[in-house]
Symmetry: D2
Subunit: 343 residues, 4 copies
Amino acid sequence: MSDLRVAVLGVGIMGADHVSRLTSRISGATVTVVNDFITEKAEQIAAGIPGCRVIGDPLDAIADADVDAVVLATPGPTHDKQLLACLEHRKPVLCEKPLTTDVESSLEVVRREAELGTRLIQVGFMRRFDPEYMQLKSLLDAEEFGTPLVLHCVHRNPAVPPSFDSSMIVKDSLVHEVDVTRFLFDEEITSIQILRPAPNPGAPVGIQDPQIAIMRTASGKHVDVELFVTTGVGYEVRTELVGENGSAFIGLDVGLIRKGAPGTWGGQITPGFRERFGLAYDIEFQRWVDAVRAGAATGDYTDGPTAWDGYAAAAVCAAGVESLNSGDRVEVSMVDRAAIPGA
Amino acid sequence: MSDLRVAVLGVGIMGADHVSRLTSRISGATVTVVNDFITEKAEQIAAGIPGCRVIGDPLDAIADADVDAVVLATPGPTHDKQLLACLEHRKPVLCEKPLTTDVESSLEVVRREAELGTRLIQVGFMRRFDPEYMQLKSLLDAEEFGTPLVLHCVHRNPAVPPSFDSSMIVKDSLVHEVDVTRFLFDEEITSIQILRPAPNPGAPVGIQDPQIAIMRTASGKHVDVELFVTTGVGYEVRTELVGENGSAFIGLDVGLIRKGAPGTWGGQITPGFRERFGLAYDIEFQRWVDAVRAGAATGDYTDGPTAWDGYAAAAVCAAGVESLNSGDRVEVSMVDRAAIPGA
Amino acid sequence: MSDLRVAVLGVGIMGADHVSRLTSRISGATVTVVNDFITEKAEQIAAGIPGCRVIGDPLDAIADADVDAVVLATPGPTHDKQLLACLEHRKPVLCEKPLTTDVESSLEVVRREAELGTRLIQVGFMRRFDPEYMQLKSLLDAEEFGTPLVLHCVHRNPAVPPSFDSSMIVKDSLVHEVDVTRFLFDEEITSIQILRPAPNPGAPVGIQDPQIAIMRTASGKHVDVELFVTTGVGYEVRTELVGENGSAFIGLDVGLIRKGAPGTWGGQITPGFRERFGLAYDIEFQRWVDAVRAGAATGDYTDGPTAWDGYAAAAVCAAGVESLNSGDRVEVSMVDRAAIPGA
Amino acid sequence: MSDLRVAVLGVGIMGADHVSRLTSRISGATVTVVNDFITEKAEQIAAGIPGCRVIGDPLDAIADADVDAVVLATPGPTHDKQLLACLEHRKPVLCEKPLTTDVESSLEVVRREAELGTRLIQVGFMRRFDPEYMQLKSLLDAEEFGTPLVLHCVHRNPAVPPSFDSSMIVKDSLVHEVDVTRFLFDEEITSIQILRPAPNPGAPVGIQDPQIAIMRTASGKHVDVELFVTTGVGYEVRTELVGENGSAFIGLDVGLIRKGAPGTWGGQITPGFRERFGLAYDIEFQRWVDAVRAGAATGDYTDGPTAWDGYAAAAVCAAGVESLNSGDRVEVSMVDRAAIPGA
């Protein structure tokens, strides 16, 4: 099956990250077109990718015959028009949040896609793909906590750009907890209130930070969110779900922690080597593939343990087996590495 | 750049895993040949991969013109001959441990590769690519702990196959800690002793389990390893490094935990969203690429949040901004989803 | 200095606990009088304490010449009259919460004590004496978090007695967080709102559980409290303080956990053996004193490691020193314990 | 029952601590005699305790008619003679480790006490009274881990006095793990080996630090201990017990952590308020008793929350109940504290 040919629109920090993701870590996709309102940036990115072109007009990029699908990492106010163009050309699109910047145009996009009868638009709420959120969701769906009742969230940034204002804390930060709430509870949010505590003395003048959001869902579940974007500490995104039969924490930097009957708290031990080292294998293989592809140029087709490392391990294990049998300490016998030039 | 064409030799549990890794999660590689001594298994795997052939003789597979590089997941006793064939054909090879099953043949492989003057062989000690081991190594290399002094390791499996014997605990389990020791300390192990405590009553008769390995490195560092492969609990692989200026734990299922002056213990807060959600983005993109490629068949080009999810988030955030300004609770206004067929 | 002679009024679960505390763990106090509206209960308790009498009328107990000070563990509605009696007789009193059951009578008690010009009344908000709360308070006072901004609290009980109603969740549970807030922030609470999420299906009919309390202090600090008294899990009392320069958690069953710059989370390592084992020494000494006092009756003046344990330790350490010098394994040499009758 | 009259012999750091423990935190004991080879130290301590005398000769102190029992905190080499004097006078004695400084005299003490047929000697291995060790022991005795198999211990000090030598690491530090092993396993240690890794560059010249002790018990259980007394970090005393059906960690500064089937790790949630706040109540009561006894001098008979704190809590809770009923935010109404002089 041939690779999916993707146009990435907007190659700022986020878009450039997505380009690198698609070209070096994702199987089955090729970036064939990039676009940015700063042409030099797009050209710089394209230069590093074989067969990739810059197209200056985002709508032309969407329409281009070499483009099967689109990633939108452009500024929010342009999403509206670009999404409609994707629909018109029947091009699947992964759109960074927000869908659009206002409710009416978002609804219009929903309607237009619904009329097509094909789902083409995916929104970039990436937390749904985070292993901890996925684990929490699957425990919820398995009714491990009984009826979910309350969600406590924390969203903390060490700092924000100077252009950040109070309403962006709602639209850019809280929006993730809005989606998390809807994802975990499978129901809509019906009311919201933003409380304004005495502000952080260290926050820029005029910014209401921290904020506390109180939300209520259709069935009456309570959600509270601390939004605090000038903590000076780190990026902390935390959720505690409280249910009828127990609770669970994610985002404490220590994996999912559950509390439940009979009065215990704790986490899961990784069941086997594939769960424990699956990511390690992925990284190992990606780095090996990259090293081999670059090997003709470098003369080294490895990026990891060498044959010598294999030999050394064999020598130690052989001594280990001898000790297992004798019970005594065994000196490890190995040849002098320097005596084998190139090893 | 064209994809690396890989032959996977041996498609048991491990090899099949690697095939799936190369075809669905690794960028830049295609599996063109598979081989297994059970032909049906190889044929079953090949059938799922466009353009992939079965070659019945592993040496033919290595020599094949459609093969740029080889992954060896065959039984250990066959590695010797297969590695030499890879060297002969100048094919890069990623070889699952062990390199070979005895010290002499391992050394012979080292010598033959050294004579070529090109590094072609990489051994599958995947722990070197595990994020926690990498983090520990980089803290060590940055001399965050001063001189490293002692390493305590634990290697526990819930159970082992019936064929497991005492010496396999050394050769199959301890071998990883042997490599970890050499990786972390950058020096060779000079002696080893295996202690035999009173055995676990639950272990199969005749198996010495647990075992305690005591190793010493060239510079006199002490390493101890508890090997216990019938715990009935989970897969626990743990390492504590103790240095002149502090210590660190990995493998406690809670990330790397450091202890250091001034008398504190703890971990690192994720600095930003890319570190916290980088893996989520990767998963999101891989699933989106897969969904789009399958979309013509399914009629659905998404595998995640839809346009409706984007609209709902916009509606809640708009109400949030209104509440931020008024201080009051605001009811969220949304259209009836059922009124838009297809949404 | 002679012991403080204490009257304990009310010897239900709480009062009986306090009697046992005063007689067996607290230095310098003797319970001379107990009282309860169930006379049998009082008599049973008094019978176990040398020199302790039952006095049937609580006001007589307060006035009694053998009483220097009073502990009030009677039902809340009787506190009013009993406290005023304590003031009248100038007897110091430790009063379990609530001070009284309504605001007016509480204020009247405040006024009457203020007129005396002597502080005689202490209220039993025991959290102020909990090591974790004390540690949090002292970090706050040392301005380790800069300006405190937000407090998140959780108060969970596994179950409540059948007589519990919704307002008791406020008056009996939330009251502790009210005091914690005032204790940590040194300022008054100026407004409060109780939110009512969809109730726990497992809660008794008619009880609003969980409840969410939102409080605001004089300087605008935000406090939220989850009150959930039918969790079926355990007793969880948790507080997270969020300040300008970092945050701290207590009540997670793992000691105080801090988050702060430079992006780290964690706790304190016990600095020395007195901090680590101070409580162990206290328990050891109390048990030894108790055993020695009972020794004439039991013929055993110990409750812990015996002389044999001391001998065995000496034998192992002597072998250890020999091994330290030789580097070899040394067999421990000990006499046969059975050969020394009585050892 | 009258208080136990205790003589404390040796009032260096440890002995002075024990004096303070007996006089201010332990119920039922009075220190009537103190002794130290530095007379001034003894006099200074005695001066602070009503009715306490200094006796210059330790054997006279033991024999004194005002002494019911003895605490030995004198240097180890004097224990021998002092213990025998205690036996001769039939005085119960709590003896700080070591029992005596050599195996022969320890055995002699054991024999002499055994001849008396009364247990008078308790050795100060205080870890047996540490809540975490007690919890681990009771889980073991309840066979929660099946047969215990292996014990991993760590004993780390930030620093040691200049007089410390290599053998003191065995006799003063390891001795605790020797007792812990015997306590947990209820069997004797039969062999020991001390390994000497490359030393910590930061340790004083000539000191073998760290050391690794390997012990084996009568039934073949393996115990290893890392002894490292110049870490510069903190006081870390850690034990991991590995059994047939699970394992448990204590001393990680986070309470007892268990690992067991079905693949979970974690701790216990405090079941109720008495377990959670029992120590807080003890501290509250001791401080209140102390404050009341000092009240005639200070004019303040409290050391904790005052009547005003009780009033303030009542006012907030009354507003809370109002909000519970109305659902609205309620302003808290309180009188002006300044209007009540003395409140």
